[in-house]
């Protein structure tokens, strides 16, 4: 296989202490955009191997796979890279009308972790990040870049961003982490 490459490959920002703020590029994952009538969600869950969330913003995680509902008929599914073909095959066999599109290379994951994680995100996200429930996600804007934000834990967020917008998001996070390290 050829060398894989993306804008943030191997990058990390560590604040003055790692517990306060660490920002790093996430490991690659397989990603799919699933579009399906919500009435057929159970069958889709069966194909994916776990029940899918049933309200916008809802997220389900199990066995290294994650499903997040972004819109009334839109889910994003992630899984370990090696499981990509299996997921595509499973949905190809799904009887219900749907659309499954591989977006694994479209996006880059960024992990924002630490006590100051929410504070760092507040620099460029307009909605109330502090009030976001753990285990939920949504599409939103980070400065001028559209992202998907997932709150994996109180102090751990994951940003999914189209690869050509990743540098911009990273650049702002870099500036923000410096402010936070300086206590400003």
């Amino acid at each position: 296989m050829l060398l894989a490459n993306h804008p943030l490959l191997g990058k990390t920002i560590t604040g003055d202490t790692a517990s306060k703020l660490t920002i790093r590029a996430a490991d690659d994952v397989a990603r799919f955009s699933l579009r399906i009538d919500p009435a057929a969600i159970q069958a889709a869950g069966a194909a994916f191997g776990m029940p899918l969330p049933t309200r916008i913003g809802g997220m389900v995680e199990a066995g290294g796979r994650m499903a997040l509902q972004l819109g009334p008929d839109e889910w994003v599914l992630t899984a370990p890279v090696a499981e990509s073909d299996g997921i595509a095959d499973a949905f190809a066999a799904l009887g219900e009308t749907h659309s499954l599109v591989d977006i694994g290379h479209r996006e880059v994951g960024i992990l924002v972790e630490g006590e100051a994680a929410a504070l760092a995100l507040r620099s460029a996200i307009a909605f109330d990040v502090e009030a976001m429930a753990v285990g939920t996600g949504c599409r939103t804007l980070f400065d001028k870049a559209q992202i998907v934000l997932i709150r994996e834990d109180t102090n751990r967020f994951r940003i999914e961003v189209w690869r050509s917008f990743a540098d911009h998001v990273w650049g702002i996070l870099h500036a923000v982490s410096r402010e936070i390290a300086l206590g400003l």
């Binding site: 977006i103 694994g104 479209r106 917008f165 500036a175 400003l184």
Partner: protein
């Protein structure tokens, strides 16, 4: 150097002495000083020259409302800011400052000749003076005015600072950290609500910082303040933001705060932002912004050394600085008496208190008597003297019936004045809350609000400390209760016991009475814009009746201070001149920002590399390493051309073109928009969206698609491949990707929700490598698995999935050059590796990377249009020569109905045609206008313009496209392109210049 610092007074840190300069002179100050307090401590009152008349000006106030004392501040390393208010600029070691609007020096300013000519510069002088001759405006008047007027000089170097921004959501935002704001924050904080408390000063306290002898609940004010600071700091739910100005209040309790982070630091840490814009969404807002003291309007009220009484009191009590050695106070309000008392008690000689009122509270007179201060009750001030600093004040008794008696002159080196106080209602006004006129207090007070907002304390006319505390506490408690319903909310607010209240009565009026000619009195209303009372009266005499018109004609209140000290005085004068009550004259609108705010704060992170998103393809890094010159295309940066050593753009593009036509070129087409359209109704959806017919397109084949708006004009185009019965791979223009997806979503969601079809953007899923040239197939054949590349199995406009270099690919046999070509889609993370592998293997064919310019030339040689360059939103398919792409038998598609509207069928529509210049060496300018008769009189009848124009190395001549009225019927005709140097002529031609039979596509 004189020392006006008073031992034992003030809050400045005497153990931290700081050196700074003003106009090149070294001075000392202390930590905690502003530039104004430090200059006054050194006996410096003269700090600038006024805007219009270049009159010497001093320090009027002690706060952000300062109209006069504007300086240039230099914080080193290119950090220069003009028009910084000396009253808010915190002194630090090494600070350099300079006065403005003077030449050659502050004390000898040639511009001061304007002061002698003041009658020429009265209200509306621009409109009256510079009307004629018209030609003088650009060459004489404007340059001279621009040179002479204006205050500070704009910095010439780029701003080296960085700026930050932050969103915040809270239950209660308290604006202002004085008595009312602190009480509000304490109540709201104790209730458990999330609270943000901001204050524009370096420390909390507001007027309490100038009020050390007041006692609050048995504690001296500063002790209470210390405990309160600690109490607030101990509450994790309370965020305290000093040095933070609330600059604007918008719908739904959205408030902008500008926080100054590093301006007060001597050493700014690397990467530390200068300022941060907070964008706060508060459930409830408490405005506790206090009140601003009004000047009195009398001749010479702008002389250095004349200042507001409350400011003098602040300089004494907060900074330990006496503003003079022998002062006089003139007032219409009690508060100036307290300033005079405090100064007298600190050992300053108070020569007199002049009160324009007929009677004043007896306890004030008694207190003055006890301090042996002369009181002149019912007197007026009619002038001041002193060239660069006040040296005396002229006072007169006012008899019964208003007759002004004989003058007396009192020597002084500072004159304190007070015309009463104006509640600071600016932010409330931003919300379009109504204001009501309070006749007793001669002030506007907040009326009905439009937002979830309360006002408290002096900002709502409650001037006593006790009232401010209790008002603030009530507002804070109620705001917290309204913000949430959880436990702890809605407790009974605390009560406050205050000793040492000041008395706070007074009257407000127009100009002080005088025995001199008021028509010549230099009695200033707006200090920053140099507007005098007589200017406002002149405006009224000349027929202006609305305060909004008077404001614009006189410029009263239009300076950067937005009339914080001048609006009410201006209104009082206008009201008197118009013989109408103040509320009938009205108040001008306050607008954000509350105080001048740097551009950087608004920009936040968006400067330099982060100014805008710069999208780069997976192959961008290779292009950069290989010397590409880039051009921006929408948000993308794209390789424009790849110059070799010694090549200019022309040579590079000619070489790149030749390589593609003769052997092999490689091009990064990753920015092409891509949309995956999936579902059983995919073909039906395509039929409805695009002009072309899709039903019969077989899987594995591609078609050129043309997209119109409902108005019938071309919106986008691209090659579309059918991957399966229910799956299309659509490409769009680079710039049109998001727009096309949005338009398609609109139709699916709102017009045809019954269609079973979904759209997914895959622009960034795929890297696209275009291989173009007669050797393209030979190059890729050994790398491709699972696709038969032979002409018969994989002809022009075929698409297939398989593998290339071991990774998955969607391989398109397409050409935007007219040569045999492929567009190789590979998953984005492998784009660069596949590119490098093909580039290496292509060396035997002389593979040549080419950029967007060569791509443009090659496609133009073949007559392929670029939507957005050759079309401009007014071209129909027929105008563009694309009728062949319109499915005539389809019953409907987006835009079809518009194509038969009468105007769309007119014969003289502009049509896209080819253009060949008579001189083959002439490359026309894109955008150049076209005429039929070059000898007609100007303005000529322009029949069209050039849309694309290039040098074609293949043809050894220039080629162009143009839109021309009825162009297709003018084939072979000569048209003319008048340019500044000469008129070019050209012949209208077809659009295909190279290989019209398309033989090369299948070579």
């Amino acid at each position: 150097m004189s020392n006006f610092r008073i031992a034992g007074k003030g809050r400045v840190n005497r153990s931290r002495q700081l050196r700074f300069t003003f106009d090149g002179v070294d001075y000392n100050g202390f930590e905690g000083d502003t530039l104004a307090s430090a200059l006054l401590a050194n006996g410096v009152h003269l700090v600038g020259r006024s805007f219009k008349y270049h009159r010497p000006r001093g320090i009027l106030t002690a706060g952000s409302e300062e109209p006069n004392a504007l300086v240039g501040s230099n914080r080193g390393n290119g950090r220069f800011e003009p028009n910084t208010r000396a009253t808010v600029l915190e002194v630090f070691e090494g600070l350099k400052t300079e006065s403005q609007n003077r030449w050659p020096s502050l004390t000898r300013d040639i511009g001061a000749v304007n002061d002698a000519l003041y009658m020429l510069f009265s209200a509306g002088f621009y409109y009256k003076t510079f009307m004629w001759p018209k030609s003088f405006w650009d060459k004489v008047y404007e340059p001279v005015i621009r040179n002479a007027a204006g205050l500070g000089k704009a910095p010439t170097a780029p701003d080296p600072d960085t700026y930050a921004s932050r969103f915040a959501h809270c239950d209660v935002l308290v604006v202002g950290g004085g008595a009312a704001g602190l009480a509000a924050a304490l109540e709201a904080g104790r209730s458990g609500a999330s609270v943000i408390l901001c204050d524009e000063q370096s420390e909390l306290g507001g007027s309490l910082l100038s009020e050390p002898s007041a006692e609050i609940n048995g504690q001296l004010a500063w002790d209470w303040l210390e405990d309160t600071n600690a109490a607030l700091a101990a509450m994790p739910n309370v965020t305290v933001l000093p040095r933070t100005t609330a600059i604007g209040y918008y719908h739904q309790n959205f408030v902008g705060l500008c926080q100054r982070l590093t301006d007060h630091l001597r050493i700014v840490p690397d990467g530390a932002p200068r300022e941060r814009m907070w964008k706060v969404r508060a459930k409830q807002v408490v405005l506790a912004q206090g009140a601003i003291e009004k000047p009195l309007v009398f001749a010479g009220n702008d002389r250095p050394g004349v200042m507001l009484a409350g400011a003098a009191r602040t300089y004494l009590n907060r900074y330990g600085v006496k503003v003079g050695n022998r002062v006089v106070a003139v007032t219409s309000h009690d508060s100036a008496w307290h300033a005079a008392f405090d100064l007298a008690k600190a050992g300053v000689e108070v020569a007199a208190i002049v009160d324009v009122r007929g009677t004043v509270p007896t306890q004030l007179v008694a207190a003055a008597d006890a301090l042996r201060i002369r009181t002149l009750i019912g007197w007026t001030v009619t002038g001041t003297k002193g060239r660069l600093r006040v040296s005396s004040v002229r006072v007169n008794p006012v008899g019964a019936g208003g007759k002004v008696g004989g003058a007396e002159t009192i020597a002084c080196d500072a004159l304190l004045m007070s015309g009463g106080w104006t509640p600071s209602i600016h932010l409330f006004s931003h919300t379009q809350g109504s204001l009501t006129w309070n006749e007793d207090g001669q002030m506007f007070l907040p009326g009905r609000g439009k937002e979830e907002c309360r006002l408290a304390g002096a900002g709502k006319g409650r001037f006593s400390l006790k009232a401010a505390f209790e008002d603030g506490a009530a507002a804070g408690a109620a705001a917290a209760a309204d913000a949430g319903s959880g436990a702890g909310f809605g407790a009974e607010p605390a009560s406050y016991h205050v000793e040492g209240e000041l008395s706070f009565t007074g009257v407000t009026g127009r100009e002080l009475p005088t025995d001199l000619d008021p028509g010549h009195a230099k009695a200033f209303v707006d200090f920053q814009n140099d507007v005098m009372a007589k200017d406002i009266r002149l405006a009224v005499r000349e027929g202006f009746k609305s305060i909004e018109h008077i404001k614009r004609y006189t410029t009263n209140g239009m300076a950067t201070d937005q009339g914080k000290t001048s609006n009410i005085n201006g209104l009082a004068v206008a009201s008197d001149a118009l013989k109408r009550p103040i509320p009938a004259v009205g108040l001008t609108t306050f607008r954000p920002p509350y105080t001048p705010t740097s551009f950087g704060t608004f920009a936040g992170y968006n400067k330099g590399a982060l100014f805008e998103v710069t999208r780069k393809t997976p192959i961008d890094g290779w292009a950069e390493e290989n010397g590409a010159v880039f051009e921006p295309v929408s948000l993308w940066r794209r390789a424009w051309y790849f110059p070799q050593v010694g090549e200019d753009m022309h040579a590079a593009v000619a070489r790149e073109c030749k390589a593609v036509r003769s052997s092999l070129g490689i091009f990064d087409a990753s920015t092409l928009g891509k949309i995956e359209i999936v579902g059983p109704d995919a073909a039906e959806f395509m039929n409805r969206m695009y002009t072309n017919a899709w039903t019969k397109l077989a899987p594995g084949r591609c078609r050129y698609g043309l997209l119109l708006g409902e108005d019938g004009f071309i919106r986008d185009d691209g090659v579309i491949g059918r991957l399966a019965q229910d799956r299309f791979h659509v490409t769009t223009t680079t710039g049109g990707a998001a727009r096309v997806l949005g338009m398609m979503e609109d139709y699916i969601q709102t017009e045809w929700p019954d269609l079973k079809v979904w759209l997914t953007s895959t622009t960034e899923q795929w890297s696209v490598i275009a291989l173009q040239g007669p050797n393209a197939r030979k190059l890729i054949e050994p790398f491709v698995e699972g696709i038969d590349l032979s002409e018969g199995a994989f002809p022009h406009m075929a698409v297939a999935t398989g593998k290339i270099c071991g990774v998955p690919t969607r391989l398109f046999r397409v050409s935007f050059t007219g040569e045999l070509g492929f567009e190789i889609n590979v998953p984005a993370r492998y784009g660069r590796a596949v590119w490098e592998k093909l580039f290496e293997a292509g060396q035997r064919f002389g593979i040549t990377p080419y950029g967007t310019e060569t791509m443009h030339v090659l496609r133009a040689e073949k007559g392929y249009i670029i939507v957005g360059q050759d079309t401009d939103g007014t071209l129909t398919p027929d105008d563009a020569g694309l009728s062949w792409a319109v499915g005539k038998t389809k019953p409907d598609f987006v835009g079809k109905r518009s194509l038969s509207r009468p105007d769309m069928l007119a014969a003289n529509r502009k049509q896209l045609v080819g253009l060949l210049t008579s001189d083959p060496k002439t490359v026309l300018e894109e955008g150049a206008q076209i005429v039929l008769d070059p000898n007609q009189p100007v303005p000529m009848d322009m029949v069209g313009h050039v849309t694309s124009s290039y040098w074609s190395a293949e043809l050894g001549r220039s080629i162009a496209f143009a839109v021309i009225q009825g162009g297709r019927s003018l084939q072979g005709k000569t048209v003319h392109v008048p340019m500044p140097d000469k008129v070019h002529s050209a012949t209208i031609a077809g659009m295909v210049f190279v290989d019209p039979e398309n033989k090369r596509l299948s070579a």
